[in-house]
């Protein structure tokens, strides 16, 4: 099995080889790996790859998934353009007119 051919995080193009390379280097914490590789930080925010990475790290460490530390789920968890936030800031103080759009 060629680990370089197996894509784990599709958003950020991270392969199984990348993940295992981190594990070999002693990075066996999902949160830390996320910071170094950006896995789980793309448009899907890890919905697809998080379980795969957790599984890989758990079996490397020889622990049950249940005993793994869960990465933090920060808001926003969907892609948001900065312009949108800036525009909302411009609108601050406006009265709520009951419309959401």
């Amino acid at each position: 099995m060629n680990e370089e051919e197996i894509i784990i995080c599709r958003c950020e193009d991270i392969t199984l080889a990348d993940i295992r390379c981190m594990l070999q280097a002693g990075v066996d914490d999902v949160e830390e790996m996320k910071r170094l590789l950006r896995c789980g930080m793309g448009p899907c925010q890890g919905r697809t790859c998080r379980p795969l990475i957790m599984q890989e790290v758990a079996s490397h460490r020889g622990v049950d998934l249940e005993d793994m530390k869960v990465p933090v789920f920060r808001p926003p968890f969907i892609p948001v353009k900065l312009g949108l936030l800036a525009e909302a800031y411009e609108r601050r103080g406006e009265q709520d007119n009951g419309q959401t759009s």
Binding site: I6, I7, L16, T48, C49, V70, P76, F77, D96, T100
Partner: protein
């Protein structure tokens, strides 16, 4: 203050659980706003072309695709406001929900919130699994049942649970050749009635097998299947090549729990319910007051159970807002719990019952997202 509106009850997700929750709470007099990222109501129901099981309360005999209209019409009559195309982005410690709608950033502060966010499909990683033609079973159902598009002429199904079996049957109905159903476990996970139906139509179900490679340059052209040993590793020398244009993965669902983590709910790892789920009481209120959950987000189950859970959560919200007297609340709650127990009875509900029991003794886990913490 940044632009914000308030409401009594916000329901996140307009699928079977969310619509039922909104309907129950609004019927009892609560002001309800439903947020859904899609253009219309229904969630997963919009692709469920099969007739439902259960009792009248769960619309037994009605096709899944027809249920959203029934629920939406009733909810609209009760004054429920539905906001579609609203993508929820987060839930904050001060009880504010943020969402994106028509390229605008919006905020909603509800007094009660019901998370009916559903679940996401699990994926398998193997060489070629990123090729066009590798689909989740939900995507295949959307393609065929919503858009009328076949995923390919020859399809390999991975997973022999109910979703894998039902989608295989729908593929056959659409004139697609299902080359095989592979299942890593020893047994077929789905109902025997569904398995027999696809077998009669000539589809082999190969237990203890998995897909180890997708072949093709630009898109899927074939797949390698291998047998598994006791350690769930592929056995050398058992490689089989199958010719196919698409690979459909039906290997389970994970509850979508981001919002519950953000709300600071105590969560528990319960594999029988699909992974991390919030710890709830019988009203489906989480450990955070005013935060409720229903449907697959509280544990992966059938849509029929999701509707009953939605009703329970909606009832609980209305009760906590003093919209229903205690006698009526207790009576209605008994009714709904009875319906749920019936849906979860028998051998098919064993896994769910086990999961719910496990929740009683679960070790809760909690994340705190506040200023000054290390999160």
């Amino acid at each position: 203050m940044i632009w914000m509106r308030e409401c009594e009850v916000a329901v996140v997700g307009g699928g079977p659980a969310g619509l039922s929750a909104a309907l129950e709470a609004s019927t009892l007099g609560a002001e309800v706003v439903v947020l859904d990222r899609d253009d219309g109501p229904g969630g997963q129901l919009i692709k469920q072309t099969h007739r439902f099981f259960g009792s009248r309360a769960q619309h037994a005999g009605v096709r899944g695709i027809d249920i959203p209209d029934i629920l939406t019409e009733e909810a609209t009559e009760q004054g429920v406001e539905m906001i579609f195309g609203a993508e929820v982005a987060g839930y904050y410690p001060d009880g504010v929900l943020t969402f994106k709608k028509d390229q605008k950033w919006c905020k909603l502060r509800p007094e009660r919130v019901i998370f009916c966010t559903g679940a996401s499909e699990r994926f398998l990683a193997f060489p070629g699994s990123d090729l066009p033609g590798v689909y989740g079973a939900g995507a295949v159902q959307t393609l065929m049942n919503v858009h009328g598009v076949r995923p390919g002429q020859r399809v390999l199904m991975v997973g022999a649970g109910n979703i894998g079996l039902i989608v295989s049957y729908q593929l056959l109905q659409a004139g697609v050749d299902v080359v095989a159903i592979v299942e890593a476990a020893f047994d077929i996970g789905g109902y025997a009635v569904h398995a027999s139906k696809v077998r009669r139509l000539g589809v082999p179900i190969m237990t203890r097998h998995t897909v180890t490679r997708a072949h093709g340059q630009q898109q899927v052209e074939g797949a390698t299947l291998m047998q598994l040993d006791e350690d769930w590793d592929p056995v050398e020398g058992t490689e089989q090549y199958v010719d196919c244009e698409a690979i459909c993965l039906a290997v389970g669902l994970n509850p979508l729990a981001e919002l519950m983590w953000q709300a600071g709910c105590s969560m528990a790892w319960i594999p029988q319910l699909g992974g991390y789920v919030p710890i709830c009481d019988e009203d489906l209120q989480t450990t955070v007051e005013g935060v409720y959950v229903a449907g697959d987000a509280s544990g992966v189950e059938e849509a029929s159970s999701a509707m009953m859970e939605g009703r329970l959560a909606g009832l609980g919200c209305a009760h906590s807002l003093d919209r229903v007297d205690s006698d009526r609340y207790r009576q209605r709650r008994e009714e709904l719990l009875h319906e749920l127990a019936a849906l979860r009875s028998g051998p098919t509900g064993a896994k769910i019952r086990e999961g719910l029991q496990k929740m009683q003794q679960a070790q809760p886990l909690r994340q705190v997202l506040v200023e000054g913490s290390d999160c």
